[in-house]
Chain length 206, copies 4
């Protein structure tokens, strides 16, 4: 895998934002995206911009601890990106997005989200059959990134490169930005299937 | 903050309409949008045009009391815009949009809409944590703008720059048109989360 | 009102198809659209084409009784267009579209669809307030256009220029194609609000 | 019917992917598409690409038993395409897509999916009235294509050119790619109507 330079990464991040926004995973200024660069630094979205309408000037360079390498402000959540790159060194790209069905599932369920039996689960690395039970960990939201990071390090096992933050959104990570966009689309589809099924089951069960 | 001239404001209003229509917040000829101009007047959408297909000729100049400064007809609701500019003098842009989940919430709930625990709430000015309870006031609809305006002046406190009109739509205001579009997207996401959650809870509770 | 020539009408019909398809009101080859021409004939969509990807060659000329004036085949439902032009002579454009929430309402409700209290109702000609009760007639579907036409002539009163056919779709008519597209968007919004509200009420009531 | 050469077929397959992705039937890398060529071979999507962003290089030639005729890898499901071409020799194009409402129906219902009374059913060849009961067979998912193929040969009768795989997606086939895209849009509409109706009925019945 050849790692990209900053300009190539910035273009890929802008394009990812357009694709995700078209599927309603980037409302308002939500989300933050990053990629590992060929010089050891990372490209990351600057805080406060709409991800569906990014230009390269909205992307900045940070180091492995998410500290700015230029005079722009990364999201507070940049620390969660740094944590993933540290825990899973094969990671080259990370997407954090908001999602209506993802948020709804975390509001309704006290436990982790379980996805079972879907062909679509084969999008995740290492999964070769629908006949599998995949657990997407859910952590409580916090504005204290140290606290959130500590809770995450207990919960995420890395068998599936994704987790949900309650009432907030989800993270995915992978070896390319393309695979991350695909995992976002797959999770949005899977969460939508779960929410749609729950609506009918909740009424029928009553 | 530099205020725009009429042509710049008209372009921003047309663009806002395209963005909001793409997210289904501008069906038929619904909605009206305005911006404060650098000469003390206001740019406002002319009544009766589709907001997703606006051209600058569909934008007009009005004064601080929403009276036309050219031979075109503003919406009757222009008075509600004037009220917001008067009550909250830092306001430079206002959007009024229709919304399926927003209308559904006001049809179902007798009270104001309460949004609690969502990360997305941080889009509102002055809110720095998800751990907050935000009340979006709901007022009854009326075709008498004086009556509606009087009810609004009792209900809106300005802590959150948004209110809902029952069976109708919502208003947001802010210092830029960009921030208003972002707040519309955020509210649509939040209202959708609430409606989706209610569907499952209503069935499960029965 | 200046009536269009065939080429202008064909362009307007193609554009209407793109707008309606973008809102999911033209799946597969469903729907048919027509306009009154300045020479007394009518422009109508040829049977069997996708309405979101129309070209002018997919539009044909028919007479006031929906008989082809060129060697192409209009939809069997062209007779329903002719009926509307005959019953309501001020009509210059007609749209028939399919709609998920519209079809769902006719499957669930035995009666006509009642829309009450919505600001959006003001899109219909002659309605100046939300404080109104609008009845959209529902007729049973039939492949016999004479039978369907006879049932329609009993049901439609023309106070609101729209009716639903059960498990099928809806018709709207007006003085311009633009007003018809707006009424389609308004009805889709209103039917969606009704269906979304019913989902929550059905569960809560159980 | 003139069969296409490879380049024409590849263009049609790329376009079908864009249309289906725009309606959310191609999340992540899901789906696979094929067409019969004028030299007796078949054009088929290469495994692992996003169907909404296909380029001709993502299409390959395979023989009638789905064996690669060039150095690229077809999907494992290519065998299911070969089966359909063998069972129904008039078939010139096949689409396999994922669908949220389609997957939800197969998760909820133990039986085949029954579609009854919809005008939209007339999109299927040989159906001339809404007053009909169409059965879309559902087969259990399997990663063993021989097993899946054997179950399918028992279930599919070909009266309607479509079947569902549980928790997975659906197949349609026809004489042109255009007719296949139309049938996908029609099924998505019909499945959505069924799911929306079930949501309200489940709550009301409880």
């Amino acid at each position: 895998m050849t790692l990209p330079d900053f300009n190539t990464a910035a273009d890929e991040i802008c394009r990812a934002g357009m694709l995700l926004d078209a599927r309603n995973m980037a409302p308002a200024t939500s989300g933050n995206y990053s990629m590992r660069l060929n010089d050891g630094a990372f490209a990351m979205t600057v805080s406060g911009h709409h991800k569906g309408r990014l230009v390269p000037a909205n992307i900045m360079r940070v180091d492995a601890r998410a500290r700015p390498l230029e005079d722009k402000k990364p999201s507070a959540e940049a620390l969660l990106h740094a944590q993933i790159y540290r825990l899973f060194p094969a990671t080259n790209a990370i997407l954090h997005v908001h999602s209506v069905p993802g948020a709804v599932l975390t509001r309704l369920l006290k436990e982790d989200v379980v996805l079972e039996g879907y062909e679509m689960l084969k999008i995740f690395p290492g999964i070769a059959t629908h006949d599998v039970r995949v657990v997407i960990p859910v952590v409580g939201n916090s504005q204290d990134m140290e606290e959130l990071s500590a809770e995450l390090s207990k919960k995420i096992k890395g068998d599936v490169p994704a987790y949900l933050i309650r009432d907030h959104g989800f993270y995915v990570w992978g070896d390319t930005m393309e695979s991350c966009v695909n995992m976002c689309e797959a999770l949005e589809y899977l969460f939508a299937c779960e929410v749609e099924t729950l609506k009918i089951k909740a009424g029928a069960r009553a």
